[in-house]
Subunit: 255 residues, 2 copies
């Protein structure tokens, strides 16, 4: 048996999310189906982050073990030859036998893209949250910074969740507006929020972004973030931002 | 009768191009169908640039006349309410009666996006040409500059075309690599070619890009561009780059 670690990018638009579900196509399910073919047995794939339906990944990390010997480069090509073009293996490497992409991770970085413009862009509708109207970016950026450090994020978890351990450390939480840039079909009007931390609760990033947008609209003051964190009350946080703007950017490991 | 000028963005992936065809959905056809409903008569729409199938627009300009009086803002909203989300009207304004978006234009700018990486990006496959292998960007950038100025572009036109007037002036022709940038899902590995001129022949930008990539691969030297221009021989230019990387960025008018 050899263990492997792969890094994946996927366009989450048409999937039910990372995790295998009773119906619909999941990234985990796609990988397990292809690996079962390659290894001629059922292979369990674990992921570093369980991205929800419609959420994208630029650098998801997954792990699994195979009985048949295979070189990582060959594995990577074999997977890409069988996976749909919406899912690509960016790299593959051998991993220690006990490698667990989720529990071994040191940090994860998520990015959320907001397009603040009057008209929806044909090029951004799958990859950003379209927010019209004026947003106070200084207030949003100031609020974003308040999330850095050790906090109890209970107030930002999904309505249905009841995680017991809700304290996490955020190493960085920054919001900035992009100036017009050639790199995107239309790069003006884009607001980028990026957060790096040692762990995330379900819907946490999307609830943070929903709260930041309410602050940008002037409905809450910037320091509302501090009150929401202190309260642990989900009723005080803003709405959950839609999945299409969210990207799992990268996962780091201490090794 | 009032004349209007509208600026449009569209994702060209699923269309047969700007121009109405015997079969398939065209941008011109979509607009004419919606305007026929609004004005209760057949309305002819002309465009500044006839983008081919799969080519995108960030700032296409179109013109038409309506019998019914309508404020430009109302027109813009009415069009966006009826057009598919892949096509968006960015702005609308009244235009002089004789306005012709194509013949009145002073310059057009096209952008071509190349993604130079080993693995195809799930986020870029509709919006860039995936080119693997090493490219000599300095040679490509030097070659791009040789297209600036007055030239006869006969060698770069489509195989079937026989335009008589093939002299054009290029005001700018530049190629650059983007450094990693937050503005795109994955901004590294992107090469942006941008060209502004007073007119373009059919397939001209895509044949220029095909030639630049051959230069980048070391198959031709940089100054091959000068020889191709001087020869007027289509056999000397490179292959036609695929449509998905091409964007009509903007059209300018003298007034």
């Amino acid at each position: 048996m050899s263990s492997f670690r792969i890094t994946l990018a996927y366009d989450g638009t048409d999937f039910v999310g990372w995790q295998r579900q009773a119906s619909g196509v999941s990234i985990q399910g796609l990988l397990e189906d292809v690996l079962r073919e390659l290894d001629d047995r059922y292979v369990v794939v674990t992921g570093a982050g369980r991205t929800d339906a419609g959420v994208h990944a630029l650098g998801q990390v997954a792990g699994f073990s195979l009985e048949r010997p295979i070189a990582p480069e060959v594995l990577s090509r074999a997977l890409n030859a069988r996976l749909p073009p919406e899912v690509r293996v960016l790299s593959a490497a051998e991993a220690p036998q006990a490698f667990n992409p989720r529990f071994d991770s040191y940090s994860k970085t998520y990015r959320y893209r907001i397009r603040n413009a009057e008209v929806v862009s044909p090029f951004e509708r799958r990859y950003s949250w379209h927010v019209s109207g004026i947003l106070d970016l200084d207030a949003m950026a100031a609020a974003a910074r308040l999330l850095e450090g050790h906090h109890d994020f209970a107030a930002f978890q999904a309505a249905g969740s009841n995680a017991q351990m809700t304290k996490r450390e955020m190493f960085s939480s920054r919001l900035r507006k992009l100036s017009a840039d050639l790199s995107v079909p239309r790069g003006d009007d884009l607001i980028i929020y990026e957060i790096t931390g040692n762990g995330f609760l379900r819907y946490m990033v999307r609830r943070i972004v929903g709260t930041l947008v309410e602050i940008g609209r002037g409905r809450y003051p910037s320091d509302r973030i501090t009150d929401v964190l202190a309260s642990g009350d989900r009723g005080l946080a803003g709405p959950t931002a839609p999945p299409e703007g969210l990207f799992l950017v990268s996962v780091t490991y201490a090794r």
